[in-house]
């Protein structure tokens, strides 16, 4: 394991301190927590937005804290959902009287920990609502199982709900637009290499030199299919087709595209993927409204990428374009 860290058990704490040193005017960490909040939290009469999850997905989630996006991000241990008490602290810190919306990625752990925090907050009289992002089409969408995971599409939910909240919308309105975003966003990822959780010190799985894994999650879990490594065009085609199969996009409709690096894939390669994704969409008469290429929701140093499509209408376009001061998503 080659990492630039100190004590693996303190890596989240070290990171958060370094984060606040880098963005001292935008964010602060609540004392004795792993909760990053806007420096000016709570913003009165604005719906507070809280997200979070395990660490190791940087810039998610702290990088999305800032005016126009999240009010707080709760960091768990690496790949481990944060605990209810931490989420509860976040909720209390960002409640400006208009209620708080929790944006949760659909993992059993995240859902349970955030729900317990919501129960604690409600017991204190805070109006808390939640949405659950489940954009990963690699996983079957079934209520008999855990259902789809939340992956990079979550960033669009942060952006759009954040913009709505900034406009002064009510908790119900912010929740509604977040749910609309979730209903219209689909993603899928692939990996060339596994990653190593610092405290574990061992790779999450093994892949041969000529293999790749399709439908990978963002926690180093194995994907849904292992196959021979293909060209960028083939990979982009497979991922895009899997998304489109699930989306019912017609010619003339508009999407926002996100090509997300999982950690160690050079930006060069992400742009190569982006080229093919655009060509496929163009072929189908689907217009691209905006494109985001970079690292938005990573899985430590995993090599690979995910593709996200968000079907946009006028409302979503306006909210996507709205100003954001979050360090990792400036608009």
């Amino acid at each position: 394991m080659k990492k630039i860290i100190n004590d693996p058990n303190l890596v989240v704490q070290d990171m958060l301190e370094g984060f606040v040193y880098a963005h001292p005017n935008e964010v602060k960490v609540l004392p004795n927590t792993t909760v990053v909040v806007r420096k000016d939290a709570p913003v009165s009469n604005k719906v507070g937005l809280v997200s979070g999850g395990g660490s190791g997905h940087e810039p998610a989630h702290a990088g999305y804290v800032g005016a126009g996006m999240l009010d707080a991000a709760v960091a768990g241990e690496v790949f481990t959902s944060p605990t209810p008490d931490q989420v509860f602290e976040a909720i209390k810190a960002v409640d400006g009287g208009a209620g708080v919306l929790l944006i949760i990625k659909n993992y059993t752990g995240d859902v349970m920990n955030f729900e317990m925090a919501a129960e604690l907050a409600e017991a204190e009289g805070i109006n808390v609502q939640q949405v659950i992002v489940n954009d990963d089409v690699a996983v079957e969408d079934s209520s008999f199982t855990t259902g789809r995971r939340g992956i990079a599409g979550t960033v669009f939910v942060h952006k759009i709900a954040g913009a709505k909240a900034s406009q002064g919308a009510s908790l119900e309105e912010v929740k509604a637009v977040a749910e609309k975003t979730i209903a219209n966003v689909r993603s899928i990822g692939m990996a060339l290499t596994p990653c190593i959780v610092p405290a574990a010190g061992e790779p999450s799985f093994e892949l041969n030199e000529n293999e790749m894994e399709i439908g990978i999650g963002i926690h180093g879990e194995p994907g849904i299919e292992r196959k021979a490594i293909a060209t960028a065009d083939e990979i982009a085609t497979e991922l895009t087709e899997k998304i489109l199969d699930d989306m019912n996009l017609s010619s003339g409709e508009e999407v926002a595209v996100m090509i997300n690096g999982l950690g160690s894939t050079p930006e060069m390669e992400l742009y190569v993927v982006n080229k093919k994704v655009h060509e496929i969409l163009k072929d189908k008469g689907i217009n691209v409204y905006d494109t985001f290429v970079g690292e938005f929701m990573t899985s430590l140093e995993m090599a690979g990428c995910s593709v996200t499509l968000l079907k946009v209408d006028d409302e979503l376009k306006e909210l996507l374009d709205a100003e954001s001061k979050a360090p990792a998503f400036r608009k």
Binding site: G54, G76, E77, V78, F79, T80, S81, P82, T83, P84, D85, Q86, Y107, T108, G109, M112, N113, E115, M116, A138, V139, E140, F144, T145, T146, R149, V197, A199, A200, E202, S204, F205, G217, H219, G220, E221, P222, I224
Partner: protein, 206 residues
């Protein structure tokens, strides 16, 4: 049988011993069908539980269980944190105010814990989760008024082993669908350690 404050503390200490000893094993089970942190999570949580229990004074079993619950809830995280946290919270409420508990009361506490786990996690028996260990244990307690410690350990062991053949429908392992078959469920293994630790405490007390 009868469990007093000291017994419950000992139970948690023994649980912690097994979990620390098997930390890497638990993580490796989780690596196969999950995200590889189960051992790390449980070890972090139970270490804190023991620190908390050994530096506090307790009058009632329920207070011990409450601190176990709160510590697990705030230190474990992931899926197992809220589940084990809920389990011990429900147990604490069930035996509220009691300085000692007998087999029946413990059985009822486990029943409430199981209900809490199922409510929180929406899993049923056969979904390849820790429910697959807790439910047989609850049934074992229901089946008799006097608890045989060896039999308890055996029930937990078989239940734990039964998860190997199951296809996961809840938790991270569910993403793997049929690829999850052939691997033990990590949360069931750590639950098994907890019931084995209980069995040892009961054995000594007997």
């Amino acid at each position: 049988m009868e469990l007093q404050v000291a017994d419950v503390i000992q139970w948690m200490e023994k649980s912690n011993d097994s979990i620390q000893a098997n930390k890497d094993y638990l993580s490796s089970l989780d690596r196969a069908i999950g995200d590889g942190d189960h051992g790390i999570n449980m070890a972090r949580g139970f270490q804190e539980v023991v620190s908390k229990l050994t530096t506090s004074d307790y009058q009632t079993v329920s207070d011990v269980l409450k601190d176990v619950s709160m510590t697990l809830l705030s230190k474990v995280g992931g899926a197992s944190g809220p589940l084990f946290g809920t389990a011990f919270l429900k147990m604490s409420t069930t035996v509220k105010g009691m300085e000692k508990v007998d087999a029946n009361q413990l059985g009822e506490a486990f029943q409430e814990a199981l209900n809490g786990i199922k409510l929180r996690g929406k899993a049923n028996k056969g979904d390849k989760t820790l429910v697959d260990v807790w439910e047989p244990v609850v049934e074992f307690f229901k089946s008799s008024d006097s608890i045989d410690a060896n039999a308890l350990a055996e029930v937990a062991k078989q239940a734990m082993e039964s998860t190997k053949e199951l296809e996961a429908r809840r938790g991270r392992a569910a993403y793997l669908k049929e690829r999850s078959i052939g691997h033990l469920d990590p949360g069931s293994v750590s639950s098994y350690y907890i019931f084995t630790a209980l069995s040892e405490v009961l054995q000594k007390g007997a």
